[in-house]
Each structure stands twice: as C-alpha cells, then as structure tokens.
Amino acid sequence: MVQPDLQTVRLSNGKEITVHTQLFINNEFVPGHGPLIETINPATEEVICSVHSADKQDVDAAVNAAATCFKDTWRKVAPAEKARLIHKLADLMERDRDELATLDALDNGKAFTVARDVDITDSIACYRYFAGWADKIHGKTIDTTFDKLCYTRHEALGVVGAVIPWNYPTMMAAWKFAPALAAGNCIVMKTSEITPLPAYKFAALVKEAGFPAGVVNIITGYGHTTGSFLGSHPLVSKMAFTGSTATGRKIMESSSSSNLKKLQLELGGKSAQIVCADADLDKAAEWSCGGIFNNHGQSCNAGSRILVHESVHDQFLELFIKHTKAMIKIGDPFDEDTFQGPQISKGQFEKILNYIEIGKKEGAIVSYGGKRWGNKGYYIEPTVFTNCHNQMRVMREEIFGPVVVIAKFKTIEEAIDIANDSDYGLAGGVYTTDLDTAITVTNEVKTGTMWVNCFDVFDQSTPFGGYKQSGFGKELGKYALQEYTQVKVVKILRSSKI
C-alpha cells in the first residue's frame, strides 16, 4: 500500500494539521521509490510521520520535468510575468504564514514565534526582493572596434539543483529558489530528510500561485543517495549547496566526475566576535549573546568564538551571562515565551554534549550551563566556556550548538590573527566605538561578512557567503544573481571587409 500524500499530524497543544508527504514533481505530489523516512519531533523525540524519499528514478523524473519545462515553457515566460508569479507566491505565504511557521517549529524545533517572525517573514521578503530583479537582469553593450556590435547576455542556466539543510527549512529554500526563479531557471531541490515537511507545504503554494509544471520540484532523501544522484546528474547545470564542509567536498567531487556543473557552496564557520576595550560592553554582550545562541547555535554564521580584550574580560563575561539568563528561555517550541527549543536530532544532541566533554578535557572552564536541559527532547543549556585558547578543538571545530568559547587577547593585531587562524571564513564581528579600529579590523579579518557593533543582522539586499573553506558564491543581494546566470558574449561583425 503506497502511503497517501496527505497525513494528519497532532501537535503538542492537541491541534491537528494536515501535511504533504509525497515528492513534488511537475506540479504533482507523487510517491517516491526510495524508502519512507521517519521525521522526528525534536521536542518530544517522537515520530511525527513518515515521508516519501526519492531514489535515482525519481531524481531523473524531477530533473527531466525541470529540463522539459525550461526548454518548452519557462524560458519563454516574460520576466514581468515571472515577477508576478513570485509575488503571488509571497502573497500566499503571507496568507498561510502561521501554518508555515507551525511546520518549521514542529519539524525543526525552533520557537514558533521565531519561525513566524524571522524565518517565514524573511523568506517572504526574500521572494519579494528577488521578484523585483526578474525584469532588471541586464547585459552590456561593449565598445570594441567600429565594425562590431558586441554585447553580453546574462542567460539562465537551465536546471538548477539545490540541496538545503535543516536549520532554517523555509528560509534556506527561499535563498535558493528566489534568485534562481528570478534569473529564469527551473529547480530541483532536495530538502533535508530531517526537516522535509515545510517545503512540501510550500510546494502546494507554488502550484496554487500558478507556476507552470516543472519550474519548481521538491524532493527529499538522504544526502548520500538522493543528494548524490542530483549532484552527479548530467542535465543539472549547477548545484547550490548549504551544509557541512565535509559534504561540500563531496558535492565538488561529484561535479568534477560528472558534467563539471557550476557550484555554489555555503559551508561551516567558526566566526569570531571581537570585543575591544573601548566597546559598549553591555550592548556587545547583548548582541554577542544572540550571535551565538540564536537558532540554538545552529547557524553556519554563529559567532561561536568570542575574543575579549583582557582588560574588560571579566566585566564582559558577567554581562554576557546576565544577558544569557535574561534572553534564553528554554521550552516547548509552541510556548509564546520560548526562545530556545531543542537541538535538531539525537545525533546532533550527542555530538554537542561530546564537544562539551572535549572542552572540559582540554582545560576550558564551564562558566555557565554545560548540560542537557530537562529529560525529554534534545534540549541543551546555553553553555559558556572560558579560559580557552585557539588551539583547543572547541575553538577550531564547528560545534553547531549553543556552546560559546571565550578567549582573551592583548592587542588588536593579536585578535585579528586569532580570528584569521581558522580554516573557515564565513562571518565575524567587532565591537568598538573607535572608527579606525572598526575599519581596520573589518578590512583585515578574512571573512565574507563583518558585523560592527551588531551580529547576525541580515538584509535581503546585502550578499552573504564565505571566504576560505566556508565556501564560495554569494546568496542574497544582486550578487546572488551571478550564481544563477551565465554570461554569453555576442560579437556581430557587420563589415563585409575581412
């Protein structure tokens, strides 16, 4: 018996909702030929339901649907019409904001209020931002010699593959879909098998908005199977991946051994927040607290290392712990007061607790937290390590949980060196009231984003993406369009003379 697409799921408050569980290919929900995968509610450790997953023939079907749609339909749709469809999709997301937020909170464990006010809200803004680009993608005419007309076209790539993570299910989908659609591509997206439910609800809205069949295709499955089939598919022109650096390498390898598809990788980070002696310490403490503990520490750009000038270290630490206590209320995702929900899964939960043990063994001191919270659900207390130095594993390796490591520095040059002493280069921050310091530090630290006197502040119009092994390519902003277009130059010779 094939599991029907619609399943009824009960929430912790007793409410029931209906979810889609089949693959979304060519504007239809269809059964998958891969195994049924159980998705777990991380707040209760219980199974929510099972979802269909895609095997190789399903990936083929999705890619073929996208390729046919691109060739026959989507590339002929006027840009202003594409914009209209994307705006319509955003309208529908606004209409169903609460439902989308519920699914993010249920499947991921983030607080419902955060899902609604941050994840879904920013996703809608992302679609609207990129809709505005659809009819503004310009090539150039370029003067060369008098007898030639030369111009560039910024063309769509065709079929784009995307593999997204579980930490911001709806928002990570938006960051890929929005620019890809605005630039005129068709997409096959593999969601994380840990959080498959939000995107299947989104798929229903895609169909309702009126997108032609095959423009958007959403499947789920394991990375090493479904993801791998997508990454090596010869008809996929580009892979956009957000996830671990280890998996990023595999995506790169599969591109090199298949069709050299273009790549965009958004990988891990170990971003440093630098607190200078002249910083407004209370504000720095408040911002840096959010900088690590937002989303339960499950952000690639988490400010997970804090470097504090030795003269203000103790004062800062006191303020940091004060803000942690005030800000972080742990609880059920559907509680109005909850700031921090559970970590995503048993595997992640155990990995983080293991890092806490490693930190202790390396000589770091637990100044706050350090243990599981409660006895049901994958909850971990916000944890503060002090007495750290940059050779410790907890200072170098991405923990991806609510664990911050704090170290001291003597001079700004030292702080910059420590910040740069990492294979990662995703983001960073500096807290200072001095103009010269702000500009010097932001110039010298090798990361894709530098925040000054704030952290984790995103806008749809500013680009985001890493240096070094945090990846390459930009999301958000006009820069993102480059990732989803290819440049052709046309050179017309109009003279009959050779």
């Binding site: 202003a80 505005g132 006009k478 109009r494």
Partner: protein
C-alpha cells in the same frame, strides 16, 4: 462645496469624478475652476478646481513636510509595498480608470484598457522592485575608505501632458517614489480627471499624506509657479519644446533646480527595399503615425521609402490608413478617437492647409470627420520636400508626410534634417543595415522592424532638442538621485 461629481458616459458607465485638488491626501478647493471638455462631443464634462499660487505653495509644503517627516528615510520594503498596493488598486479599478481616460482624452476605450491603465500599473510595479536595489560604489583610494551614496533629491515637481494622462503620471511618480522623493504633479488642464481619481486610490493604498500631490492648473500659472518654486529641487516636464525652454529658463532664474525634459519629435521612419515583409512594414508604419490620433511625441511622422518599393508601399499604406473607424471611442471597432481639443484640432487642420499651400499632394484624408467632436481623417501627404512646414514642424495629429530616397547616405541626411531626435525606425531584413543605420541615427530610441514599442524596463528619451534625461528602466532613477561621495581618512 462638493468636490465630486457624477457623470454617465456615452456607453452607460456611471462615474464618480473627483474635482478637487489632491494635496496632503485630501481633496481641496482651488482659487478658481477650469472646465474640462469631452473631445468626442465638444461638451463640458465638469469643472475642476484649479491651482494658483496659494495652492501650489500648499502642495509643495505638504511634499516638503512629508519628505523630511519620514519619507526620505523610509524603509525601502515599505515603499515597495505601497507601490505594489497602488498597482493592485489600479488593476482592480481598471474599468473605471479607463472610462475616465477615454471620456477626458477621447482615446479608444480598448486602448485605455489594454495600454494606458496597464501601463500605469506596470510602471508602479517595475519601480517598486527598485526601491531596495539602490547601490553606490566602494572605490579603492589610498589611505581612505571612499564610497558613494545614492540619495534622493527632495520635492520633485512633474508637469505632465494630456496625450497619455495616467501613463505619463506614472513615468514621473514611479521612479521618484522609488528613490524616496516626494512629488507634486501638475496635470494638463485638458485632462485632469483620471489623475484625480488616482488620488482616491493613493489614499486607499495607505501612502502617507503629502508624498504624492496632484494639482490641476494652467501651464503658465501653476506650471510656472512649480518650475520656479524654491522648495522644489527638481522638475520633470513632458510636453512641447517651446514650453520646455520656459521650464529651463524658470529653473535658471530661480534655484537651478535639476531639469529633465521629454519634448517634441519629428521621428523618421525609414523603409528599405529589402524588407522581408512589406505588409508588416506597412502595419507598423501605420501604427507609428496614427496611434492615439497622432498625438504621440515619438510618432513616425516622416516616412522615407526606398524608391524600389515606393509605389507598392504607398498603395498598401493608403489602403490600410483608410481602413478602420475614426469615431466613437466606446465602439470596439474604433481605432482612432478625436484630437484632444478645439485648439489642437484647428492647429492640425492648419498644418493640413499649409501642406496643400506649399505644394504637397494630399493623397488621403485632410478633412474633419463628422460635425461634433474633434475628429480628423487619417491624412497622407506625398510629393513633399524637406523644408516644408509639414516636414519640419511637429503636427501632433494624424498627418504623415511620405517621401522616397535612393540610398542610405541620402536618407540619413534627410532623417537628420531636424532639430528633434526623439525616435526613429528602420525596416530592413539586412542584419548589417539594421545595425549600421541604428548606430548612425541621432535618436534616443531606434526601432528595427517595429514602431512605438515602449516598455517600462527600456529607457526612453531624446537626443538634440527632443529633451534630456531618460524615463523608464533603471536609467530613470538617475533623474531622481543625487550622488554623495564620502571619504573617510583612516591614515593607512
């Protein structure tokens, strides 16, 4: 006093018309009134309030207050949301707006429904998408952090014509609002009604008071006051070249406000003998001159046909021009409505007379249609010389002058024998000729194998005395932006 009036159109559509001045989100009285005429009948529709010094000041004050009171630093997403909302309302009320446009301007209702009103919505949506995409540059300089910021200008005045009232309004307000300027628009006293109806939608959409102000008034009164106002930082004008000069002069004599001008044209339409499909060239050429009863700044009012196909072209063009109904704009078969006013009617008839007097052949038309309203037959003059008035001066009516040419150098010289440079067209199947000729033509828009194709994402504007500045597309934002360079010394 009531600032609305009820009116039922000839096709039975009931309208509630706004007749006040739209200032600070309210409809208010003016210092006097102006009657607006239905050009299809010559009858008065209603009287509208007219702005004089007091009201122009009030509108500029409102715009000034709104600019510094929050619009200048408004959130881009919020501006986009408001502009999209206004576009939604325009689309909701398309029937009503199109009926008002046809009533006041005389254009066929199906044109208002398919071009004018959708053009207004499309323009708003295009520029709504621009609000959060304003980028300056960071420029590498030694020892400094140097960057540019693209800032709005302030209170922007717009003086718009009567030929496409709603579309012309949108060409001014959309880029201005996107860049967070506030606006005072003076509509033409000949076609005040559709913009005033938009005032109701502006309030419904939720724009803060004073961001958009719409006033009716005479050019030499309200228009002049706006062009001279010391608190207006920029004026955008679409209209005749003669008035464009006055605007420039007014700016020079007051605060040197920035000026952009969209003026007249006498655009050359060049048909080579290697056109692949002569019927298509004839189709576009006819659209090029007779659309909107010839009341288009970029009208292809001089047609140059290469001698090898001249006779064929004339025969086909004459037949096509003679077909199609000139008359009742509510009739689905009508392709041409009246001229806008008695004065314009007289002016066009005067040019027809001058053409005959100067010895050109009136091959088709030349007469009034019917005896009420300002309708003129599609008119063709042949056997023209380049110095004739009908070849040099902008007629702004359904009158085309057609002549023949031998080769490309000759036709380009003839095409350039004008002070204007708004648009041009080339009909050919030769790739080389298409590119070479469009490169050589001194015009802001060159159409190849088409005419009058205008879209919100491609720039439009003139060379020479057809004006300066571009409307439509991201280029239009330049008109509503001023650039500040910041150089921070960091002593590296």
């Amino acid at each position: 006093m009531s600032l609305t009036t009820e009116f039922t159109t000839a096709d039975g559509y009931k309208l509630t018309l706004n007749t006040g001045l739209f200032i600070n989100n309210e409809f208010v009285e003016g210092s006097s009134t102006i009657e607006t005429i239905n050009p299809s009948t010559g009858q008065v529709i209603t009287a509208v309030q007219a702005a004089e010094a007091k009201e122009v000041d009030a509108a500029v004050e409102a715009a000034h207050k709104a600019y510094y009171g929050g619009w200048k630093n408004s959130c881009p997403r919020e501006r986009a949301r408001l502009m999209h909302k206004l576009a939604d309302l325009v689309e909701r009320d398309i029937d009503e707006l199109a009926h008002i446009e046809t009533l006041d301007n005389g254009k066929p209702l199906k044109d208002a429904l398919s071009f004018d009103v959708p053009g207004l919505a499309g323009q708003l949506r295009y520029f709504a998408g621009c609000t959060d995409k304003v980028h300056g540059k960071v420029i590498e300089t030694q020892g400094k952090l140097s960057y540019t910021i693209h800032e709005p200008i302030g209170v922007c005045g717009g003086i718009i014509p009567w030929n496409f009232p709603l579309a012309m309004l949108s060409w001014k307000i959309a880029p201005a609002l996107a860049m967070s300027n506030t606006v005072v628009i003076k509509t033409s006293e000949l076609t005040p009604l559709s913009a005033l109806k938009l005032g109701s939608l502006i309030v419904e959409a939720g724009f803060p008071p004073g961001v958009i102000n719409i006033i009716t008034g005479y050019g030499h009164v309200a228009g002049d006051l706006l062009a001279r106002h010391m608190k207006v930082s920029k004026i955008a004008f679409t209209g005749s070249t003669a008035v464009g000069r006055l605007i420039m002069k007014a700016a020079a004599e007051t605060n040197l406000k920035k000026v952009t001008l969209e003026l007249g044209g006498k655009s050359p339409n060049i048909v080579f003998d290697d056109v692949e499909n002569l019927d298509e060239a004839v189709f576009w050429s006819r659209l090029g001159i007779y659309m909107n009863a010839g009341q288009v700044c970029c009208a292809g009012s001089r047609i140059f046909v290469q001698e090898g196909i001249y006779d064929q072209f004339i025969e086909k063009f004459k037949a096509l021009a003679a077909s199609g109904t000139v008359g009742n704009p509510y009739d689905a078969n009508t392709i041409q409505g009246p001229q806008i006013s008695e004065r314009q009617f007289e002016r066009v008839m005067g040019y027809i007379e001058s053409g005959k007097e100067e010895g050109a052949t009136c091959l088709l038309g030349g007469n009034r249609v019917g005896d009420s309203g300002y309708f003129i037959e599609p008119t063709i003059f042949t056997d023209v010389t380049t110095k004739m008035k009908i070849m040099q001066e902008e007629i702004f009516g359904p009158v085309v002058a057609i002549t023949k040419f031998k080769d490309v150098d000759e036709v380009i010289a003839m095409a350039h024998d004008t002070d204007y440079g708004l648009a041009a067209a080339v009909f050919t199947s030769s790739l080389k000729r298409a590119i070479t000729v469009s490169n050589r033509l001194e015009a802001g828009t060159v159409w190849v194998n088409c005419y009058n194709q205008i879209s919100e994402n491609v720039p439009f504007g003139g060379y020479k005395q057809s004006g300066n500045g571009r409307e439509n597309s991201v280029y239009a934002l330049d008109n509503y932006t001023q650039i500040k360079a910041v150089k921070i010394n960091i002593g590296l």
